[in-house]
Symmetry: C2
């Protein structure tokens, strides 16, 4: 017996239940489309009858050099006879002709290479038969010319343009704009013209034998598998080249055969809101293409219910069956031919983030899927959507069409914002206070000085910097939409303007930025504001919390941050950067004094003045986090970050000295001399603190060891605050963290200092506070010697930003705008390691640290507080490494809750 090359749709009753699974053998054999048609037939959905020629037939054909495998053609003819019997029509019959479509369908969807020939079976004789049958000459000639056009293009290889040019000429002759306006005669004469073209290119008249049409169409589709277009696509998409394509032969059905005919598309649920109600559009007496092309005004699907109540009821039942069967919201194409409903295609429906959440939750509540599945179906990015305003899709599309998209940059902080351009922080703040003035703060790059302006602004835009630049970090921390590293912007702060694409944008002009996609637009774009209090989202995150094993904490520097974090579900503060508190204008002078003084006594004075501020900050945090742990990290950045920039000082001095050469009064000279002397003093200190590689320099614990008074002051502030609020009945769990540790002795020295001071404060206050002492792991050596560190630490917190820098030997400030970009383009790196944890390098160190640390101290609390703590893929790695929690910016907390649950569920699956 020869091999089976052809399967009727209704022949595979015992196939695998769910052909949507890309691993199924059925898909491999019949292609995705074929398997889908088989599956719908199997569950008694009215699909136009037809059959599929297998991918194996394709491969056999291709490897034989162009010969159908043995008996294939006989099997096709046999299948066609079955279709004739079932349909009551006959292929090539002049009275009641059977028309079929011939469509390619590979295992994996390959959009743009799916060749299709419609209306096979038409020739001069059968066309006349169709006219007799339908009485619609226009329809038949349109169908006939379409067969010649598609056959000519796909089977023969005549450029489609040749045909389209003829149609365009016809439109011009007729003085009409659209094909819909062309008359029967127009189509009739076009059909003749197309026949001439065909003859011209092939030296043959258009084949009148329908079987010849079918044979050639099948061969053409088989061959198209090895065409350049398909091959390139497979290379790009990583699809194997040896799969082959199947060919589907399907009876043509027509929705334009009178008022009892129609065609349409429908979703089983609302794709914008997720509401469980069919939505869709249809057209009576029309073809499917007309609905999609938007040439005619479609009607809402509810109209169908009125016009054809029975058919609609049938459709409704089928739609529900399909959704139930595929356990997903479906996007269904249908045609009604003379009152008979046909389902042409069904697939999972696209939807908005809101709809995605609601559908997943409601389906679980309906019992269609499990809560676990619901959690797996929503992407973390969809959760993120709820946290930020977004431009309306239509508004964006329009803006792009109008050329208002000015430039692309790095999408470092999601959400959209419109505002007036302000080039400095003070102006940004001032304008923001005025009514109706929204501001986008625009800088070449931002510095700590700029933070007040950034907080006042609606969004942040910079021309330099990378994913972990100051601008990006601050923006994410405060949930401000931001686009950075937009190199196309030429910002001239002095002229208060920027140039982009030869356009000049002045301070005060409105722009719009999309931090989700990294886009910069001119003007104002219409915006929608989603709501985090969406009941379905809350339900979904509740379920997530039940599934996840990772804790989700937040990075928060002040009580308002902490409030947000708690509202979003954070279970602790994983990182409070105490130095951020210093940047406030009331405090900075004291810090300057501390830095500028060489005398310990002066230093002490300055620190004493800072103490009450810090204590107040900590007390605020502790109050908000009542009952939850709060990790405060002692001062980390190099001191020069608190002083003016070296280059600026040099420039200022230069200016002053130039002015000195022009000064013409003694008074002016004296004033300038004093100014120069003062600047010079600061410059000297900045010079002293200057380092060739500040990232690897005097910061973190090195600072605490150099200036122990600084550690003592901060520890005192923490413990005084803790005692204070504990007396008010607040449950405080302070954890003190030492940054940049590379050697166990650093930890020992600081621990001694801390324990002494903490004890002193607790004695003074007459109250005991339960606290933990721990260390950042952000230097490779710390990870490698984690067993030693664990002797002196109750917790580890992975600072993966710095750990990535040191493990890779990459300075993020420099690299993200230079060679990292090239590396990703060259695919040397698959991902930006500052966005997604590098499993093989950084992850390996984390693994070593967790294992060594827990071997010494099984109760060791291990968390991550780097930017990666909010990245879903990184969260998966953290779960696998067995961390206790991830800590991320408050705005990423809901995202992390979902991602952590997904990691746990994926883990279950692989177990």
């Amino acid at each position: 017996m020869s091999k089976k090359w052809v399967y009727l749709f209704d022949e595979v009753k015992q196939a695998e239940a769910y052909a949507g699974d890309s691993h199924s053998d059925l898909r491999t054999l019949l292609g995705g489309k074929g398997a889908n048609l088989v599956e719908m037939t199997r569950i008694n959905v009215p699909v136009p009858i037809g059959f599929t020629i297998t991918t194996e037939a394709c491969n056999a054909y291709l490897s034989s050099g162009g010969i159908f495998p043995e008996k294939m053609w006989e099997q096709v003819q046999e299948a066609l006879r079955s279709v004739e019997v079932a349909s009551g029509k006959n292929f090539g019959d002049r009275k009641n002709p059977l028309l079929v479509s011939c469509r390619s369908g590979a295992k994996f969807s390959m959009p743009g290479m799916m060749d299709t020939v419609l209306n096979i079976g038409l020739n001069d004789q059968t066309a006349q038969g169709m006219i007799d049958l339908t009485g619609d000459e226009r329809f038949v000639f349109d169908a006939y010319r379409r067969l010649i056009q598609m056959f000519g293009n796909i089977v023969i290889g005549i450029s489609d343009e040749v045909f389209e040019r003829k149609i365009a000429e016809a439109r011009k002759r007729a003085g009409v704009e659209t094909d819909a306006k062309l008359t029967t005669d127009d189509w009739k004469s076009l059909t003749s013209e197309f026949k001439v073209i065909f003859k011209h290119h092939t030296n043959h008249t258009f084949s009148i034998d329908p079987y010849k049409q079918l044979e050639m169409a099948i061969k053409a589709i088989f061959k198209s598998w090895n065409g350049k277009r398909a091959s390139d696509y497979r290379n790009a998409a990583g699809i194997p080249h040896d799969l082959g394509t199947a060919v589907n032969i399907v009876t043509m059905v027509f929705g334009n055969m009178g008022d009892d005919s129609a065609t349409g598309v429908a979703m089983t649920r609302n794709s914008s809101t997720g509401e469980n109600r069919i939505e869709g559009d249809y057209l009576a007496n029309a073809q499917g293409e007309d609905v999609v092309a938007g040439i005619r005004l479609t009607k809402d699907i509810s109209g169908l219910q009125a016009e054809m109540p029975e058919t609609y009821a049938e459709f409704e039942k089928i739609a529900q069956r399909l959704e139930y069967h595929y356990r997903e919201m479906q996007d269904i194409e249908f045609t009604i031919e003379k009152g008979k409903l046909w389902i042409l295609q069904t697939r999972d429906g696209k939807r908005t983030a809101q709809a995605s959440v609601r559908i997943a939750v409601e389906m679980a509540e309906e019992g269609l899927i499990t809560p676990e599945e619901a959690v797996m179906r929503v992407t973390p990015e969809q959760v993120d959507f709820f946290l930020h305003p977004q431009f309306e899709p239509d508004a964006k599309a329009a803006a792009k069409t109008e050329g208002k998209l000015l430039a692309y940059g790095l999408n470092v902080s999601p959400g959209s914002a419109c505002g007036m351009v302000a080039f400095d922080a003070d102006l940004a703040e001032a304008w923001s206070k005025e009514e109706d003035k929204h501001v986008i703060m625009v800088r070449p790059e931002t510095k700590p000085d700029d933070v007040h302006g950034m907080l006042a602004a609606k969004g942040i835009l910079t021309s330099r910097g990378g994913r972990t630049s100051h601008a990006a970090l601050v923006a994410r921390q405060f949930g401000k939409p931001a686009v950075v590293g937009v190199s196309a912007l030429d910002i001239d702060v002095n002229k208060r303007q920027m140039a982009v694409k030869k356009e000049i944008i002045k301070e005060g002009d409105w722009i719009s930025i999309d931090g989700t996609f990294g886009e910069v637009y001119a003007g104002k774009l219409k915006t929608t504001v989603p709501d985090i209090r969406d009941p379905w989202l809350i339900k979904l995150l509740d379920w997530s919390d039940g599934f996840r094993r990772l804790g989700v904490w937040a990075n928060a520097d002040c009580h308002s941050d902490a409030e947000r974090a708690r509202a979003y579900g954070a279970e602790g503060i994983g990182l409070c950067r105490t130095e951020h508190m210093f940047f406030e204008s009331k405090r900075l002078p004291y810090l300057h004094k501390m830095i500028m003084s060489d005398l310990p006594i002066e230093r002490r004075e300055a620190l004493d003045a800072l103490l009450p501020f810090q204590r107040e900050d900590f007390a605020g945090l502790f109050r908000v986090m009542d009952g939850l742990p709060v990790i405060t990290r002692l001062i980390d950045p190099p001191l020069h970050e608190f002083l003016p920039n070296y280059d600026d000082l040099v420039n200022d001095l230069f200016d002053l000295k130039i002015r000195l050469t022009h000064a013409d009064t003694l008074e002016a000279v004296n004033t300038l001399l004093v100014q120069i002397k003062n600047k010079d003093l600061i410059l000297k200190q900045v010079e002293k603190l200057r380092e060739s590689n500040p990232m690897l320099g005097m910061r973190g614990v090195r600072l605490g060891i150099q200036i122990p008074e600084l550690t003592t002051m901060q520890v005192r502030a923490i413990f005084e605050a803790a005692c204070m609020v504990a007396k008010d009945g607040v449950e405080v769990y302070p954890e003190v963290m030492i940054p940049l540790v590379s050697h166990v002795n650093e930890l020992k020295v600081q621990r001694e200092l801390l324990e002494e001071e903490a004890l002193k404060v607790m004695k003074e206050q007459g109250i005991e506070i339960d606290y933990k002492f721990g260390t950042m792991i952000e230097i490779p050596r710390a990870a490698l010697t984690a067993d030693q560190l664990a002797e002196y630490a109750e917790f580890f917190s992975f600072g993966t930003n710095d750990l990535t820098q040191t493990t890779f030997g990459i300075s993020r400030d420099d690299a993200e705008s230079s060679f990292l970009v090239k590396y990703m383009r060259m695919e040397i790196l698959a991902d930006n390691p500052f966005a997604t944890l590098d499993r093989d390098g950084v992850g390996e160190l984390m693994d070593i640290a967790v294992r060594k640390g827990r071997a010494v101290n099984p109760d060791l609390e291990c968390g991550i507080c780097g930017e990666h703590g909010g990245d879903p893929e990184s969260i998966r790695i953290c779960h696998q490494l067995g961390l206790t929690y991830v800590s991320c910016s408050p705005f990423r907390v809901p995202v992390a809750r979902l991602a952590a649950a997904q990691a746990a569920l994926l883990d279950r699956k692989t177990e």
Copy 2:
């Protein structure tokens, strides 16, 4: 039977053979000194008879709160009786009194806390007996007052100054300068005065009972174990506090009892040259102290041979026996009392580096020790001594006394040098060409531009920079003595002078620097030049080569380096830094052109011009290393290092602009404008290349990927050179190394580039070259993913300088002059990790890399080319990690050969 607390010296015949071993039980029980006296007695060396009270007795005494343990005192008396019998003298006997010394002696030597009381047994009666016996009243009263003084000080606690003041008064009264000039009467009346002092402090007359003297002396010594001085010393030296001290009671012998008496010290071999001949000094009719104190002119030991031939012959025999017994050159103290030779002490003799080598080698040749032991006895530092000139120790001592030691700095490159101060490279070079002008090049810090001056100079001195600063690296590479980071120097290059200790040193003044000890002297110091061709050293290194398992390669950038490396025994070039070749004046302009041009074609042109230079360099290296492997590393440093310094450019521009404001002719203005424009162009490029952390920036393989033409040019130069010399019959084994790799894909990309170009060159040249491709491991991620790298690398070379920086998160440029110093002072770090490999962190990464790499490729060649490759302790670690070779500067090659052998021998021991 009660416990045995007291051992006569001749009672321990069956003790362990070698009491020199600090782990022996005998030393624990009897202390080092006691065990030594026992040992000498055991091998029939004439030691004054005596006995030892055990450390156990001391501990029992201390823990009982001050009571001799049961029967101890009885055992002491019994032992004393044995001594009386043996000596024929009696303790306290007025006719023939026995005098003894009472000396503490712990298990480990504790210099400065060893309490001793001499002449115990003297009182008014026995003193008279001594006078009757010796007829030397002066000698007896001197001995008597010494007993009162020592007893008063050590047993009673009277300040020694009180006694010494009296002696000083006596000298003044007598009008003499030294004690030796004091008469019998002087000593007689001093004895009386001392008795008064004693009475005054104790309310007791000086004890007349010798037994009481002895008892109190023993108790005082016991107690001294817990004294503050001893306790502090033990804390510092890490000696346990529960060991206790033994007490040795030894018969007094006197070398000042007439012309048949003498005293002296002698070494069994020459301590300067190592020659196998006794050397020493003695004094006839004198006390041991007189020899040591240098009050009287000592005679050469050869005189003793003439004066007392028999006794000398006996001494010679004993000296040989001691050397043979201890298998080491001995430093022996002896006394001849009335023709009878007594050995008072023997210990291993101190010696110079040359002597150390010769003695070890000759002892092995004599069969006294094995060649393995000879290799273990010489320290690597002693080998290093042969490679550099050194100041004569006397000259240094004198200079220090005269206050010529100006400052200390980091001893980054060993050896000494004298020269005239030159503050810039051109002057240094110019002066060095003149006859009799030697130069010390002095700079705040050095840059690649300075290299020609550094090469011309005799030594290098900088006020800034650390152990791996440019100055240090270059100095070590070329064997120039160097002291860097001398912060006490205030260098004013503009004024051509430097201030130190309020002294001004002008350009042209002579200074001397000691790179072995990090010292800076004013003026010229006398210097000796050792010879590496020392036959004993050659022999020792030959033996070493036979023992070591590690290969010893050298870092060499040019053929003269390579020649030296080969002469010193290098077995390959582990690192040729190709970029060093670019700094030559003929080549730098092309490199500048390459950097400044943004057009690939211009870049290509510049590179083409550099190619012949590089080829020539490589050919030279290959020729010298005929038959041995040569690893060339492709360009590594960031490009900005080849351009002028940013700050300098800004300053220059500032100056030019200031001059512009003063320019008064049109011509001057135009000239300045052109200059400003040119400087500005360079500044722009420097600004473009500027990075916030250049150490982690655009360098190494990142550069090779950014500018593939650079890689291609270098590869072409290597292979053209290799083909060229191979045709001349030279055996070439080129290995091409990629720096700063952190991801396997970097290696893949560069390997493809290399293979293509290499193949092209070999085809052009019509010859096949056997080569290897490999990578530096200098980034933690490279070590962590070594299994992946090993798929594309035939060798790894650990760049431990950078690996230490990234593993610790430390910038060496900044840290070595700042917090690292503090860390070592605070003992947070035991060693400078840039000098000695950090085993726990960096070593752990190396271990991971070697294991992972060899798991994939068992033949993987693993070496080290960082500075650590020449450090003995680090070489030990490299041996333990199973590296293939260490590579170090040519000057460290002999050191490394010895250190590698010692590592292997130590390994055998622990097996």
